[in-house]
Structure formats: C-alpha cells, structure tokens
C-alpha cells in the first residue's frame, strides 16, 4: 500500500526537506497549471461525471437503509452464488448473491455507507488535528515548532500501513478506533501547509492589525487566518480522501479493518477472494466501486487544485 502513500507533491517534500532550496515538491506542476488554467474555463465533462458519481455515492451512503433491497445478513442458502442480472441471474438479486446467499447489491450499499463514513470521519479528524498542530507550531515557534516538525518527519517517514497494522491489531478492531487511526493518516500534510501559511499570514498586515486591536490568538487563527488558508486545506483534503478510502479498504481486505458482521468495500473484496473462480462478481462489484470513487475524487481534487489554489498547484 505504500504506493498510495507516495502521491507525489505533499508527501515527498516531507521526506526530502528540500523546500529551502526552492525545489518545493508542491511547486512542480506550476508551469502545467498556468496553461491548464487558460485552457479550461468551464467545468470539464470528466469532472461533471465525477461529481455525479460522488453525489450518487453520498446519496447511497445517506439513504442506505431505505435503498437496500435485503438485509445484509439475510441468508438464503437455496440462492447461493447466483450470478448478476445479464450473466444468468434473476431480477431478484441484481448483482447476484454470495456464498451464503446474501444479496450482493444490499451488501454493496451498506459497504459504501461504512467506507464513506470512515473516509469522511477520518478526513475531518486529520484536517482538524493537522491544522491545529500547524497553527501551534506557527504560533509558538522555537522548541514547540521543532517538536511538531519531528513528529511530522516521523509520520512522513514511516509507511502508514505498517504503523496502522500494528496499532489496529493490538488494540482490537472497534469502528471508532479505526476512524481515529485513519484520522492520523495524512495529518502531517495539513500541519505542514497550515504552519507555512500561518507563518506567512502572521507577517501580513491583516493578522498584525487584528492583533493590535487586541484579539486573542485563538480568535486570530480561527477567525482570520483559517478562512484565508481554507481553500488550500480543502484542496489538500480532496487529494488525501481517496488515499484514506484505499487505506481502509486495504486494511479491511487484510481482515484487520472493518470486522464482520459489518461490511466495507475492502472487506467484501477480501471475502469474495475465496470465490474468485466460481463467483467473481462478489469481489468485482466492490472493486469497481472503489476504483470509480477514488478516481472521481482524484479528478475533482486535481481540478479544484488547478482552479482554486495557486499555492498548492
């Protein structure tokens, strides 16, 4: 899974620490983006498709209970391993059934809900925690800042999957812990961005003005600095969201993430693997969902980055 962790810019400039020399990893696509920005004014078709798919996923996640044709634990042994419609299956089970005769579509819907919930929760935690750490580093400077930087280095230098595996299996697998753990993924990117931008903001007139009036630090950072750097952080969140989906599905695939009777996308792929020869639809349905979702968020993230945020491009 280390592959997912190396999504270029943000992760890498941490390992390299070469910002000072002006080789900021985040600045690499600069030339491309200027041209790209002139080229695309409207919203490209691909981005519209991505938005539609993501909206559908979100709707499915929110309305899972009423969309599911069957209960996800409803076992029907007489209808085991039925293929999907179009491959010899019946309309009763649109995407076929699994080894216990459970409806794949129903399980897929529930899985989307669980995976989306975890990814959203984790992204929110990572953004909040990372931004807070970044602000703390920018505010106190000195030793505090060094400590935060060491933590950032540590986080960026260890493959997250390895760390996550150790923590998860040794603390057991509860959903809150899983979300919290996923929430640690990528916090260092927000921290680095927030620290850099907050230091820059502190040197600007508006922050100084508010400070002169007598605003407390909390108010300066939350009320004035945060709104000014929010777009950068949101873009960063869009870019790390698919990685969290991939990480969670990877862990669940290994049997160390979401535990039965709950189900998630990776979980379905993991259990469906046993039936890859006889019933490939069990693992193909969630696989396609994972790929389409991560692809769509990445497309959206890239587009947002090009449009909104010159500093990250």
């Amino acid at each position: 899974m280390s592959a997912t962790q190396i999504d270029g810019a943000t992760q890498i400039d941490s390992a390299g620490q070469i910002d000072g020399a002006g080789i900021n990893g985040a600045g690499i696509e600069g030339a491309v983006v200027v041209a790209a920005r002139q080229r695309r004014r409207g919203m490209p078709v691909a981005v519209i498709c991505a938005l539609v798919w993501l909206a559908a996923m979100l709707a499915v996640a929110l309305a899972a209970d009423s969309l599911r044709p069957y209960s996800i634990t409803a076992i029907d042994l007489r209808a085991r391993l039925q293929p999907p419609v179009g491959f010899g299956g019946s309309l009763r089970h649109l995407l076929g059934t699994d080894e216990l005769g459970r409806d794949v579509l129903s399980r897929l819907i529930e899985s989307v809900r669980v995976s989306v919930l975890i990814a959203f929760g984790a992204t929110a935690i990572a953004a909040t925690f990372g931004t807070t750490m970044g602000f703390i580093a920018a505010h106190f400077r000195g030793l505090v800042e060094q400590a935060v930087l060491v933590l950032i280095d540590f986080q960026a230098s260890m493959p997250f999957l390895i760390v996550a595996l150790a923590v998860l299996a040794f603390f057991g697998n509860s959903l809150p812990l899983l979300v919290a753990l996923m929430g640690l993924y990528g916090w260092e990117r927000y921290a680095r961005i927030a620290r850099g931008l907050a230091i820059a903001a502190n040197a600007q007139g508006y922050a100084a003005a508010v400070r002169q009036i007598g605003a407390r630090p909390l108010r300066i950072y939350l009320g004035h600095v945060l709104p000014n750097i929010a777009s950068t952080l949101i873009v960063s969140a869009t870019l790390s969201f698919p990685e969290i989906v991939l990480l969670e599905s990877g862990l669940s695939f290994l049997g160390l993430g979401v535990q039965p009777p709950m189900t998630s996308l990776g979980n379905m792929v993991g259990f469906g693997r046993e039936y890859i020869t006889r019933a490939p639809w069990i693992l193909l349905a969630p696989s396609v969902t994972i790929v389409l979702t991560t692809l769509c968020v990445s497309l959206l993230g890239d587009w947002l980055r090009d449009r909104l945020d010159p500093t990250l491009s």
């Binding site: 899974m1 890498i12 540590f154 493959p159 792929v269």
Partner: protein, 308 residues
C-alpha cells in the same frame, strides 16, 4: 556539507528512537499477551510463570529500558509462537520479499521514468494522455484489486500463470507486475511534472536560444535538474523494499515479510511485529539518508543550504 549530513544523521537516529518507543508503548499497553497466548482460562500460576519468563511482570519503564538494552545487544526478543529469535524469523522471510520487490522496483524505474520523460517532451500528445491515464490508474486502483483482476484474467480465465504459491519462477510474474505497474504510474506522473517544471525554466530557454541542440539541452540541462524530485520518490520506493508488499503478498499468499507481519499482528506476536517495525524504520531512514547524499551530489544548492 558535513553539517548538513550530521544534522540529517541526528534526525535519522531520532526517528528510529521514536519508532522504537512508539512500537513499545503501543504494543505493550494495548493488552496482556499472556492472556492472549495462553487463553484467559489458563491456570493463574501458568499465567504468572509466563509473565515472569517474558519479563511482563516488571514495571513498564523497566521493560522499556530492558528492551532498549536488549536491542543494543542485538537481542530483539523471541517470537512468542515458537520461541525462536524474532530477528531470525523475520530475516528468513526477507529473501522471499526481495524476490518480488527488487524486480518490481526495476520495473517501476525502467517503465515509469522513460514514460514520464517522453510524456513531458511530447506534451498533450496522445502518448502523453495515455501515460497520464496510466499514471492516474496507478494510484486509484488499489493493489489488491489489480492483483485479483490479474489473477482472474491470467490464472483463472487464460490459465497461463499460477495464481499464488512459490513453486516456480512463473509464480513471481503476477505479484511483480502488480507491484510494478502501480509504482510505475506514480513515478511516471512525478517524472513528467518534474520535467515540465524544468522545461519551463529560463535556463532551458537560454540554452536553446544560444543554439545548443535540443537533444543536448534535454540530456545535459533538463534531465539532471528533473532528477532531483524524482530521486525523492525513488528513495521512498527503495525504503519500502522490505515491507512494501504487505497487501500484494497477501493476495498471492507469498511467504514474505509482509505476509509474516499480517500473521504476526493477528497472533499478537509482539517481538516479530517490533522487529519488522524497526526493520522498516531502519530501511526508510537509510534510504532517506542515501537520498540526501544523492541530493548533495546532484544539487550544489543543497550543500549551501546545509551550511547556513
């Protein structure tokens, strides 16, 4: 340069220390291994004896210091399962993992870097679009999905290659391709952006304006400069040689370090997990140091930055 390197070295040691501490705290405080290994129904005397034998009855900070002392003596504890030294248990698996990760790394480099350079030099061409599409697929398709689809096509449908196991060299093909394709996409994307950034620089314009042939501009001006960010990604890839195949090894039931880690974690085999964590940290840190050294060679500005 010396100051720059010693600073980096200090950071590296600090990272290792943090990893050891992190591993120790998390693994020891999370539950009682005596109950897990012996089952909660075991007689209290047996549990007490087990705890005493493994030093689990000591205060946590004594265990911590003991652990550090043991590491410094090269003694990394024994696997709780079969009592063999954990280091040996892990070391036995390393060759199997390298059999997958080394060819995969070669594949990433040989495929990704030329593709990225070509795409950058022929920007907006069909080839460029294809490379970018491949690169996006490289990081949006999870490795287990890619691996299983390859199994479905080449092992189940076509029957050309085995779907797992370690019996023949053919068995390595699917896992290596699974690992290599994803990484190649990432490397291609990165190389392409690095090249485009460099090609937009004034010194490239100057070089071609003064009449240097385009081929020479690319090879002696653009490539060395674009190498710098690319080396960083490659450092990360080299660093994950040991444990970069956790998921892929599980897909193909490959008896490497990654598979061992998953099993050890499921069995709460503390010593083995800690050895793997340490090993991963050590490779990562070493790879990062190597990257820093390469920077020093590639980029004089880095030496200046370190001397500040």
């Amino acid at each position: 340069m010396f100051r720059y390197l010693s600073f980096r070295l200090l950071r590296a040691v600090l990272t290792i220390l943090l990893v050891v501490t992190f591993a120790f705290v998390v693994l020891r405080l999370s539950g009682d291994p005596a109950l897990t290994i012996l089952s909660p129904d075991a007689p209290p005397a047996a549990i007490a004896a087990f705890r005493h034998e493994w030093g689990l009855d000591q205060p946590i900070w004594v265990q911590y210091l003991d652990y550090f002392a043991a590491i410094l003596h090269g003694n990394l504890g024994q696997s709780l399962r079969d009592g063999r030294p954990a280091l040996q248990v892990v070391a036995e698996r390393i060759p199997a993992t390298l059999v997958l990760t080394l060819p995969a790394l070669t594949m990433k480099v040989l495929l990704g870097i030329p593709a990225g350079i070509y795409a950058a030099l022929h920007r907006n061409s069909m080839a460029d679009r294809a490379v970018m599409a491949g690169a996006v697929a490289g990081f949006t398709v999870p490795s287990f999905v890619l691996g299983l689809v390859l199994v479905l096509v080449f092992a189940v449908q076509l029957g050309w290659l085995p779907s797992g196991g370690q019996d023949s060299w053919q068995a390595t093909i699917l896992p290596v391709v699974t690992l290599g394709l994803g990484g190649a996409g990432i490397l291609a994307r990165f190389t392409r952006s690095a090249m485009l950034e460099v090609l937009g620089q004034p010194y490239i314009r100057t070089a071609s304006a003064k009449g240097v042939p385009w081929r020479a501009v690319v090879t002696s001006h653009a490539l060395p400069n674009a190498a710098i960010p690319t080396v960083t990604v490659m450092g990360f890839m080299v660093g994950s040689l040991i444990a970069g195949a956790v998921v892929v090894e599980s897909v193909f039931s490959w008896p490497g370090v990654g598979r061992l880690l998953v099993v050890a974690v499921a069995n709460r085999d503390l010593a083995v997990v800690q050895v793997i964590l340490l090993l991963v940290a050590a490779t990562m840190v070493t790879a990062n140091l190597a990257v820093d050294l390469v920077y020093g060679m590639l980029d004089p500005r880095m030496r200046a930055a370190g001397a500040r």
